[in-house]
């Protein structure tokens, strides 16, 4: 279901494509302000190449993946094999394994359901294919966002969720990296949640 705000042309926008570009630009700049790193790729098949250097730089040895149905799994597996990374699919794991591996893996990759351009936020609707822990427990979280899933803000998210017949047991809005200023008002990035967040925006496809 498409949220209404996505159909509304942006002020000064020429058509659908420029609207989407503006949303992607705004999303990226806002996510960066919240200390997330952002990457833009053309299509989902470009993901393995886009992640290759990043995963190597982070020394990732285990990557937990949720929502693999929307990925180019073969490409990801080849890339992981090349780098010696163990790719673990949530889908194939039992309940307890998902929970344990979420705490033990080096990084996670989850497919984002909706993203908010005005705040650079990634929204996850949790359910069977999208557990909660992979986006909060690992030290690195990579969120994959399809540009068509970009909406404007919390208000638009309210519209989007209210259109649904039933809400999932948990919806999480993630904006940048977990943080605290509890010691001496000193801003520390990476508290209990991921120490680093990478938002990958896919321009085409769903």
């Amino acid at each position: 279901m498409k949220p209404e705000s996505k159909k509304e042309p942006k002020e000064g926008g020429g058509g659908d494509k420029s609207d989407l570009t503006a949303l992607m630009d705004e999303f990226s700049s806002q996510a960066q302000l919240a200390a997330a790193r952002t990457v833009r790729i053309k299509k989902v098949e470009d993901l393995p190449l886009a992640l290759q250097d990043y995963l190597a730089e982070k020394g990732v040895k285990t990557l937990l993946v949720a929502g693999q149905d929307r990925l180019d799994l073969q490409g990801m597996e080849e890339m992981a094999a090349g780098l010696g990374i163990r790719l673990i699919l949530c889908d194939k794991l039992a309940k307890e394994e998902v929970q344990n591996i979420s705490f033990e893996c080096d990084a996670s990759l989850t497919v984002v359901d909706v993203a908010l351009a005005k705040t650079g936020s990634m929204v996850l609707l949790h359910g069977m294919e999208s557990p909660r822990l992979p986006s909060v427990a690992p030290p690195v979280h990579i969120g994959l966002i399809f540009a068509k899933d970009l909406i404007s803000d919390l208000n638009a998210l309210g519209d989007f969720l209210e259109q649904r017949e039933r809400l999932p047991s948990a919806v999480t809005v993630i904006t940048g990296v977990s943080r605290t200023a509890d010691i001496n008002l000193n801003l520390t990035l990476g508290m209990h949640g991921p120490l680093e967040v990478l938002a990958v925006v896919v321009e085409e496809g769903s």
Binding site: L133, L154, S169, A170, T172, L185, N186, H192, G193
Partner: protein
């Protein structure tokens, strides 16, 4: 935490003498005020946005009984179990019952003001249940047993060296005064607790009647972990938190975050609707929502006090209050400090125990100007002051003894001639006491003069000036 609001005067004096703490209170207030102003600019019309939230809170309170019933029905339909607790004791007992039924021995908590209000940690400790606050500031405050300095940053007044000593002692780390390294140490230490915990306990920022959802806001990720890993989630919710729709809840959250920490949006917002479904691979198998009254029905049913329940606990009022910004949170002696505390504490603890909190107000009114819930703090304080002099069994206030000076004042202003005469006498007396243009001491007013002087009265009174200036009908 045990209330010590009666000690406000003594504590405030101590805080005023603590220069470092005074500077910190000013610093934190200044920072949050600046960030808040900046965040508000992201609204096309900030006044309108605040007005809308105030209206949501007003309307939600109007419909509170119906909204609570609707919330409870929808939450249960979504798979949560809703419990009602009349007071602190009952609320704690319900938590204990749930934990005992699951044989829970280890609990992790997300920041929850109502859990502090009902002294839950103390009760769980007595029952031999290990409890860890997950929010870093709350964790430090819990370990040291200090009163919170600020609603957002409860342990910000703890010197880094002391936090280092504390962490060295409980986590076995090398001493360090680097806040980032201390944060990492707490992350590693608490991570295992989150992983092993039998139950996660959180508060509720906003509840949604239409969907039975609870909405939680945070920056650290402790609430997300506490609501994702343990098998049981208990959410403590004071009964005024409910609004009609999810859209309205998100509107409240949006303003809450901006007013609270001055962020455009917090790092995490969780919308939780029922327990996790059996086919989900994480999330709690049971979600218990305990709706806590603890005196709120009485506050709700009294027209003059109902407005206090609009509070969304953003703490915007703290940053602008000339009293809070000089003494900080610990002087208030309980969970809620600043104007928020001066409004809520007297109703929750009784007026006599909190008289000095609202008496200390300077009536500047800045708190109500920034309050996104539209609370008229000054009207509330006036009401409390009236009650506390007249006496009220309902709000636990003994009839106040009007001091002789005030009685004399009331008698003098009762007639113009007495007022003029009294004014002349007072001026004469003040001139006698005046030295170098200042009066530094007067009998019966030692307390007032302890921290300030009074300028000498001017040579010509306003009354005399007016009559001479307006001679001839000018």
């Amino acid at each position: 935490m045990k209330p010590k609001t009666e000690l406000f005067r003594r504590n405030a004096r101590e805080s005023l003498n603590n220069l470092a703490q005074r500077q910190l209170a000013q610093q934190i207030a200044g920072l949050f005020r600046m960030l808040r102003q900046f965040a508000m600019q992201s609204y096309p019309d900030p006044k309108k946005a605040l007005g809308e939230v105030a209206e949501i809170r007003r309307r939600s309170l109007e419909e509170l009984p119906e909204l609570l019933v609707r919330f409870s029905e929808n939450a249960e339909a979504a798979g949560a179990r809703v419990h009602w607790a009349r007071d602190a004791e009952e609320a704690c007992q319900k938590v204990v019952d749930i934990l005992e039924r699951h044989g829970a021995k280890l609990v992790v908590k997300g920041k929850s003001m109502v859990s502090e209000e009902i002294e839950l940690n103390e009760v769980l400790k007595e029952k031999g249940i290990e409890v860890y606050e997950g929010d870093l500031g709350e964790f430090i405050a819990q370990q040291v047993g200090i009163s919170p300095f600020h609603i957002v940053a409860p342990a910000v007044h703890m010197p880094v060296s002391e936090i280092s000593r504390l962490f060295t002692q409980i986590m076995g780390i090398e001493p360090t005064e680097d806040p980032a390294r201390l944060g990492r140490a707490a992350r590693s230490y608490l991570r295992e607790k989150f992983r092993q915990a039998d139950c996660g306990i959180t508060g509720v920022n906003v509840a949604v009647a239409d969907t039975g959802s609870i909405v939680l806001v945070e920056n650290e990720g402790n609430i997300r972990l506490a609501t994702s890993k343990p098998r049981v989630h208990i959410a403590l919710m004071s009964l005024e938190k409910v609004v009609p729709t999810l859209k309205e809840a998100l509107q409240v959250v949006d303003v809450l975050v901006k007013s609270c920490t001055g962020q455009k949006i917090s790092a995490y917002i969780s919308i939780i609707t029922g327990a996790a479904k059996p086919w989900e691979k994480d999330g709690p198998e049971e979600l218990h929502i305990i709706i806590v009254d603890n005196g709120r029905t009485k506050i709700y049913s009294t027209p003059e006090t109902r407005e206090a329940l609009r509070c969304i606990r953003c703490g915007a009022c703290l940053g602008v209050c000339p009293v809070y910004t000089r003494i900080g949170g610990p002087a208030y002696g309980w969970v809620y400090s600043g104007p928020m505390g001066a409004v809520l504490n007297p109703l929750l603890l009784g007026l006599d125990r909190c008289r000095d909190l609202f008496e200390a107000c300077t009536q500047c009114g800045y708190c109500q100007e920034v309050c996104p819930a539209g609370i008229k703090h000054l009207d509330m304080y006036h009401h409390y002051r009236g009650l506390s002099w007249r006496g009220s069994t309902e709000w636990r206030a003994e009839k106040g003894r009007i001091p002789f000076g005030l009685k004399l004042w009331a008698w003098a202003v009762g007639s113009p001639s007495r007022y003029i005469m009294g004014g002349r006498l007072a001026r004469f007396f003040l001139k006698v006491k005046s030295r170098e243009g200042r009066i530094r001491d007067l009998p019966f007013l030692k307390g007032w003069f302890a921290v300030r002087d009074l300028p000498s009265p001017s040579a010509v009174t306003f009354r005399d000036w007016w009559s001479s200036a307006h001679k001839g009908g000018r």
